[in-house]
Every structure is written in structure tokens, then in C-alpha cells.
């Protein structure tokens, strides 16, 4: 489809409607918080949460390496525990920002402080998390490697901080937290075979083990949880990894694997533009014939999170890599870079092609609360559904798309390496 027609068809009548609904819905969160508070009181027996079910874990990053390690459990909604796990299903089910916040604030984080190297007293002699299966950290690790929610009992210490102050419409409601004294499994967790394999093989480097799990059909969400619990990699290297770091580590590692798979693949043969919009974020993915090159440019509207001044300028960030990738962590765009790159690489690998790729992310003021980097990953992954727009040249595509962006072509060129110029190669000049 010609790019002009493609963009016409995107005309956002229904989007405007969705945005309006999203705005109205944001007040529903207050009711939700009150309901949670009631559930919580009911579930508490003395200082113990009984009949709890934990679908996932959280490892904090503040005060590293003495970090907080937690199990996340929906209180009063145990039978639906699976639904509380952040993954691609949230996108498929069309979760809005509110739905995500309801899930997040509905998960109690019962945590304990631990050292990333030697969380248990017994393991202090051999500082690695590798053999820790007892105590709170052990239970937490069981939850991480299991492929379904694990039933347990959590002993709480002191009064939980429900953190349920939804009084302002600016602050993001965070999930309630409690300090845990202990945790005990009340069932035998189910661990899939490939995970057992990576767990048991303690000579296997983390990157290889992650790639193996991915090839065996595990999505990055599951791998992330396993890495976070220090349940793969060479024995002496195993650590508890803060959730936030491990998300990016997995996106980056799997991305590198996929990039290797397309390095010698033929190029796509036309300039394609794919668009997607989700939760007040619009994505344009421009693919052009050529060798692998990737750039993410983010434009955050005034009034959106991270750029709260409604009268300010559009805030821009970008990061790029060439054919051989980058040697340094991205300074701008951070985790979103690796998440978007993964989405694009999965598409290219599935069609067995390489391409030069520019992803433009426009964050509107409808994006009022941060939901996490999964939103970027899923939006880009799913941008390749249906038809795409085609253009004669990469620069034609960029200038056409720029008419829809909140920044001028000149400003985009200054920020974006790819928009400024596409890398040619020497064989084109013979």
C-alpha cells in the first residue's frame, strides 16, 4: 500500500474515542484501591497471609548489592493469579493503563532484604546464590522458576505499608508492600524441563542459557524472572539480579542472538512503514533496504510523564547502533531501546531478512502513568500485523511520517542519526 494511503487508513477516529474512555476510566482506580484494602484485611490471619499464591517475583535495585527480594501475590484474587503476570497477553487482551495499574496495585510485594551474592547464612561460606533453596530467598527462587503461580504462606513482620494513597492524580499508585519474616511453600512448584536443564548446568554461561530458553519457546518475561532469581549462568557468577536490570539484560541478549541470525540474510527490497498505537504511545517503524542498522527516537509530548510541563517543548531522546551493534550501554532511551530492538529483530528474523530500521516513538499526554517497558516491546512486536505502507525511498518515508510527528524534519534530523543520513557501503561505489 502506498504510504499516503496507509496513513489515511490510520485516521484515528476510534483512537480519539479510546483516549476519551481512558481518561474517564482513570478515576475508577480509587474504588479499586478501597476494594484491595478490604481483601487484604480478610486474607490476613494474625500476621500470616494464608492461602496465598505468587505468580512472580520482584528484585529491587536500590542499595545494591543489599537489595530487597520479594514475592508478588494478588491478595483476595488468588484464583486469577496468572492474570497478574506482566507479559505479552496484556497487550493481546488490550489492557489500558488503568488495567495495568489495577494489576500492579493488586499485587502485594512481601519482601526481605538480601545480599545478591550470599542471601542465606549457610551460603556465606560459598558466596553464590546458586544453592540457596531454603528460607525466604529459596522460596522466592522457586516462584521465579515455576511456570505457574505457586501456593504459599507468607509470614509478615510488622504492619504492611499499603501505599494506597490515590489522593492525587499525578502520583502513580504503587503496589502495597510488606516486610516478610518468612515464606513457606504449600505445594510443589512445577518447573519446566528446559528450565531445570539451565538450572542444573552450572558451567553454562548466562547468555547461552538465556538464548537456549528463548529457542525453546520461553518468552523474555519468563527468562527475565529466571535470570533475576540467579537461576542460570556459571555457578560462581550467579547472582540475584534486580528486575529492572534483568529485563534489559534479557532483551539485549536475545536481541544479539537474533541480530546474529540476520547478519548474513538478504536485505528487504522495499521501504516499508509500519505503525502501531497503544496506551497513548504511537510507533512508526521504518524499514529500508540495506544492512542492519537500528535507531530508536523518542518524542515525549509536554504533559506526558517524564515531561510533565504542559507548556514545555517536545522532549527528544535517541540511540542507535550500526551493523555490529554497540559497545556501550545506551545513554538515552535506556530499556526502551532494547525492547523496541527486540520487537524489530523478531520480525526480521521471522522473514529471514535484514534491514536498516528507524523506530519513532511518540508519547502523547494520554500516557499518564508509566506501565513498564513491556508496553514498548509489545507495541513494536505487534506493529508488523496486517499491511504496511511503502515508499520510494527512506528519506521520502521519513519526511512523510514527520508530517504526523510533533517535531519538524529539521529537529528530527538533528536528533536522529538515520534521518540525518543512511550509511552506504563501499561496494555501492564501484
Amino acid at each position: 500500500m502506498r504510504l499516503g494511503d496507509y496513513i489515511e487508513e490510520l485516521e484515528p477516529d476510534e483512537e480519539a474515542e479510546r483516549r476519551r474512555l481512558a481518561k474517564e476510566k482513570s478515576y475508577a482506580i480509587t474504588d479499586h484501591l478501597e476494594r484491595f484494602e478490604r481483601n487484604f484485611e480478610q486474607a490476613l490471619s494474625g500476621d500470616t497471609l494464608v492461602g496465598s499464591s505468587a505468580p512472580s517475583i520482584f528484585v529491587g535495585r536500590s542499595n545494591y548489592p543489599d537489595i530487597s527480594v520479594g514475592v508478588l501475590s494478588p491478595v483476595g484474587d488468588e484464583s486469577q493469579a496468572e492474570e497478574y503476570v506482566t507479559d505479552g497477553k496484556w497487550y493481546q487482551q488490550g489492557y489500558a493503563i488503568d488495567d495495568v495499574l489495577q494489576r500492579r496495585t493488586g499485587l502485594l510485594n512481601s519482601s526481605k532484604r538480601a545480599n545478591v551474592d550470599s542471601p542465606g547464612i549457610a551460603s556465606r561460606l560459598a558466596p553464590s546464590v546458586q544453592d540457596v533453596w531454603d528460607g525466604f530467598v529459596g522460596v522466592q527462587r522457586e516462584v521465579a522458576i515455576a511456570d505457574r503461580p505457586v501456593d504459599l504462606e507468607i509470614g509478615l513482620d510488622g504492619t504492611p505499608d499499603l501505599g494506597l494513597d490515590a489522593g492525587t492524580d499525578v502520583a502513580t499508585p504503587r503496589g502495597p508492600r510488606a516486610t516478610a519474616r518468612s515464606a513457606d511453600l504449600t505445594e510443589n512448584p512445577h518447573v519446566p524441563r528446559p528450565v531445570k536443564k539451565t538450572l542444573e548446568d552450572d558451567d553454562w554461561q548466562a547468555q547461552g542459557a538465556m538464548t537456549y530458553l528463548y529457542r525453546r519457546g520461553f518468552d523474555v518475561y519468563e527468562i527475565n524472572s529466571i535470570l533475576s532469581a540467579g537461576a542460570l549462568g556459571e555457578a560462581a557468577q550467579r547472582r540475584l539480579v534486580p528486575t529492572r536490570w534483568s529485563i534489559t539484560a534479557v532483551d539485549d541478549t536475545i536481541g544479539q542472538y537474533l541480530r546474529g541470525r540476520i547478519k548474513n540474510a538478504p536485505s528487504i527490497d522495499e521501504v516499508q512503514v509500519w505503525a502501531n498505537e497503544y496506551m497513548g504511545n504511537r510507533y512508526w517503524v521504518i524499514l529500508a533496504p540495506g544492512t542492519w542498522e537500528f535507531e530508536l527516537v523518542e518524542m515525549k509530548s509536554p504533559g506526558s510523564i517524564w515531561n510533565p510541563d504542559p507548556a514545555g517543548n517536545v522532549w527528544m531522546a535517541s540511540a542507535a547502533e550500526g551493523y555490529e551493534g554497540r559497545s556501550s550501554y545506551v545513554e538515552e532511551t535506556a530499556g526502551a531501546y532494547y525492547a523496541a530492538r527486540l520487537g524489530v529483530l523478531e520480525h526480521l528474523e521471522s522473514i529471514g531478512r535484514q534491514a536498516t530500521c528507524l523506530v519513532l516513538r511518540e508519547v502523547s499526554d494520554d500516557y499518564w502513568a508509566p506501565v513498564g517497558v513491556w508496553q514498548v516491546r509489545e507495541s513494536v512486536r505487534n506493529a508488523f500485523d496486517g499491511e504496511c505502507g511503502t515508499a520510494e525511498t527512506f528519506h521520502d518515508a521519513v519526511s512523510t511520517v514527520t508530517q504526523r510527528l510533533p517535531v519538524s524534519l529539521d529537529r528530527l534530523r538533528r536528533k536522529s542519526t538515520l534521518a540525518a543520513g543512511l550509511q552506504s557501503n563501499l561496494s555501492e561505489f564501484k
Binding site: 555490529e324 528519506h395 538533528r414 540525518a420 563501499l426 561505489f429
Partner: protein, 247 residues
Amino acid sequence: MFKAIVSAATLTSALDSVSVLVDECKIHLEEEGLSIRAVDPANVGMVDLTLDAAAFESYEADGGLIGVDLSRLEDIAGMAESGQLIQLELDEETRKLHIQIDGLEYTLALIDPDSIRQEPDIPDLDLPARVVLEGKDVNRSVKAADMVSDHIALGVNDAEEFFYVNAEGDTDDVHLELTQDDLIDLQVGPAHSLFSLDYLKDMNKAIPGDTEVTLDLGEEFPIKLYFGFAEGQGQVTYMLAPRIQSD
């Protein structure tokens, strides 16, 4: 057969100018000197290096070809102080390179040359403009551009006869003009091309500050950048494909 003695400084300069683009390379051991030609995996930057037999204290070769891991060889050369001599000898039977620095002996396993990326053909480019300047001016241009951007435009103003460097960043710009007087030589012609600073920065690292560097430029065409080292007995030519601004 290959047997040579060379100063550490000369060997290091030669290796550094290749290793900025590739990790492994083939070295041709010709009677009149050694030569290396390599292109980076993206086929964007290329190096062509020759080091004449006269640059060595002693040199004997009869046309062999070896493959080396550059970082290993650089590490070994780095063990020598700059005034010291390095002795190299190829053991044809074991396909290993014996390296001696003072009393230190190192045996380096070579790489099968067939497993190394094919050497590139040198594009035959007709570039209309030529700029000859000192290495330190190249360094200054690259450094200034790097403060604001990750790419750099190099061009020649045909009418007013000057060479210029442009870099446009997020908010800041860098512009540098060098006239006939600032340069060693200038042959004007229509020239303006954009280059990735990632590559130019690496190439710049290999350029001695006090050497004479020649830049051949065209419009949205590769740059050919060359300079001598080892008192003129070595020659490095880089070619770098541009970033295309229009289609």
C-alpha cells in the same frame, strides 16, 4: 620464508591502523615489504597498508601469506618499549610466528588465512577535491564534531576555495573552515559528504599528529584518506563510505 627485525614503534603504528577496523587480517609477506588490506564487516570502512622493507632493520620474505589475530599481536608488540626492536620469524612447518623482544620469546599461533574475510577490491573513485593538511587538524575537526554529534560533514567550497567541517547536534553546531593558508594544499572541486564519526574517530586514532594527511572528497561519495608513517616508508590509505543524506 619470513624473517624480520623492526622497531616496536613502527610495528605498533602499522598494527594500530588496521586494528581500528578489523580484529583479524591477512598479511602479505612480499619481497619488497609487507602489505595488509582489510574491510570492516559492514563493508563501510577499508584500510590498505604497505610497509616497505626499508622500514625494517632487516627484512627477508619470499611472498608468503599469514593470518593473524591483531589484538594478540598488538599485545605482544606492546610488551616492547618504543625504542626496542622486535624480531619476527615464521616457522613454516608449525605455522607459528616466533616473536622475540630482548630476552622475551613468544610463539603466536596463526589463523588460517582462508578463514579470514576476503580482502576487498579497492574502489576506483574519481574524487574531484583534494585537501592536504596536518594530522593535528584532522584530530581537531573530529574532536570538535564529536562534542555535538555522531556524524560529520566534510566539504570544499568551490567558489570561495576553502575546506570545511560541519557537525549539527541536538542543539549545538560546530563549524570549521580552513583556507588555502591553513592547509598544506587544496585542489577545489565540488565536494560535500556526511560520515559516521564512529569510523572517523577510529581512523583518526591511527593518524600521527605531525604527519601530512591527504583527503580526497566528492559529493555523497566515499572519502579517501591517506598518510605516511615510519618516515615515509609506510603508507596507510583509508576509504570510508558516506552516510547518504538524500536519495
